[in-house]
Symmetry: C2
Subunit: 215 residues, 2 copies
DNA sequence: TCTTGGGTTGCAGTGTACGCAATAATGCAG
DNA sequence: CTGCATTATTGCGTACACTGCAACCCAAGA
């Protein structure tokens, strides 16, 4: 009986970080789900915080305890994904060529994208249709660029403030993501995202000068 | 006399588009000047439209007839610059390699930047210190990327929606600008912006894979 | 001079977001 | 299981950006 109680406590602690946080997570998901539905129905600008709050059964004021702005409901996951990238990059190979590590890190993210295809497509439709969300999205991408720049500079033993190559590499890598993602979205996620990214990275590594008009 | 009158009219029309528009231009410049001063003094967020309007001696409501948002006071010139780039790109060489034309177009913009160095530095300080302005800035850069993507696609005879290379090239070119500009700003515009850009373009053309850790 | 169109202004209103204080729910220790 | 501490929720008030509308004003042109 004693052992059983201990076991219960362990399960309780590992699976659930307390009823409190479980409830918070649930509320957060509810807001996200309800908000995305409303955005699709009424448009982003046509949906007020008040409406979202009513649909999620919370007070309007409470919304801002979960998301710093309306835009972040659509984009919240990105910041989380950045953390994973940064971790992957920090484990990168000091002194070696940066490209294999960079490629691996971004292909890893691409795998995520493909598994969450439906969800991603929903969100991207809202992003593309709403300037303010697009702006916030770019802002988040800028933090990615900063993080990647720092990582590449560390690998190459360069100072990112004095040498422009780390930022150029990071910016080009993110351009690869944007181009691949855009291509992937135009065919509604039917094509293979990783192969797009690989193709882009190949071009960046070996030189964009080789691209020329097809016969 | 008759000829002189005609000449006067021509001068009048070319130099001054009427007293009305002249006054508009002056008011616009006043708002810009006054607003930038206030931003530097109180910070962007610490400066209200009401304050700007008072300092520029206009009604708060009138501000929005000149600028669609507070952010655009800092960034208004960019949209104009884009027009010049697009024009330069449309004159680009169909069927040839895109890089010489791309390089020329961006070096042209860089020349502008250097002549307006002081003004530019003021504005960039505000951009870097203010998230909302930075976001708007990125949004404008995105329109640049779209425009460059289209131009490159046209040159290469590719469909930008189906082939990801035009957008990759455009994105990489803009990353070159960002990296160069950042480097240029860290030394307060002392270094040569065009040479930064040239160096970036060289790397992009011949391949980023060659960048490696210095001995 | 008179008309007309554009520019300016004031007013009222909407919506996001924040600070603050009161209240409710939860976790924890006795 | 009960009181205490912690944290979440809520309501209220406020600041500010931005918009639509209608009145007004003034330069431009007939």
């Amino acid at each position: 009986m004693h052992r059983l109680q201990q076991y219960d406590i362990l399960v309780y602690m590992s699976q659930t970080p307390g009823l409190r946080d479980r409830k918070k997570q649930r509320t957060r998901r509810t807001i996200e789900r309800v908000a995305l539905d409303l955005f699709e129905e009424n448009g982003f600008d046509g949906t007020t915080i008040e409406l979202i709050a009513a649909a999620a059964d919370i007070a309007p004021r409470t919304f801002f305890h979960y998301f710093p702005s309306k835009e972040d409901v659509v984009l919240a996951d990105y910041a989380t994904r950045l953390d994973r990238i940064v971790v992957a990059l920090e484990a990168g190979p000091i002194g070696e060529a940066p490209w294999p590590a960079l490629r691996a890190a971004f292909l890893d993210v691409a795998a995520d994208y493909e598994t969450e295809r439906g969800e991603l497509l929903r969100r991207f439709r809202i992003i593309e249709a709403t300037p303010s969300v697009a702006a916030r999205n770019l802002q988040i991408q800028a933090t990615w660029e900063d993080a990647v720049t720092e990582a590449v500079a560390r690998w190459l033993g360069l100072d990112a403030a004095r040498d422009l190559r780390p930022r150029l590499i990071a910016g080009a890598a993110l351009a690869a993501i944007r181009a691949s993602l855009r291509r992937w979205l135009t065919d509604h996620g039917q094509s293979r995202l990783p192969s797009h990214i690989s193709a882009c990275f190949d071009l960046l590594e070996t030189g964009l000068g080789q691209v020329s008009r097809p016969k």
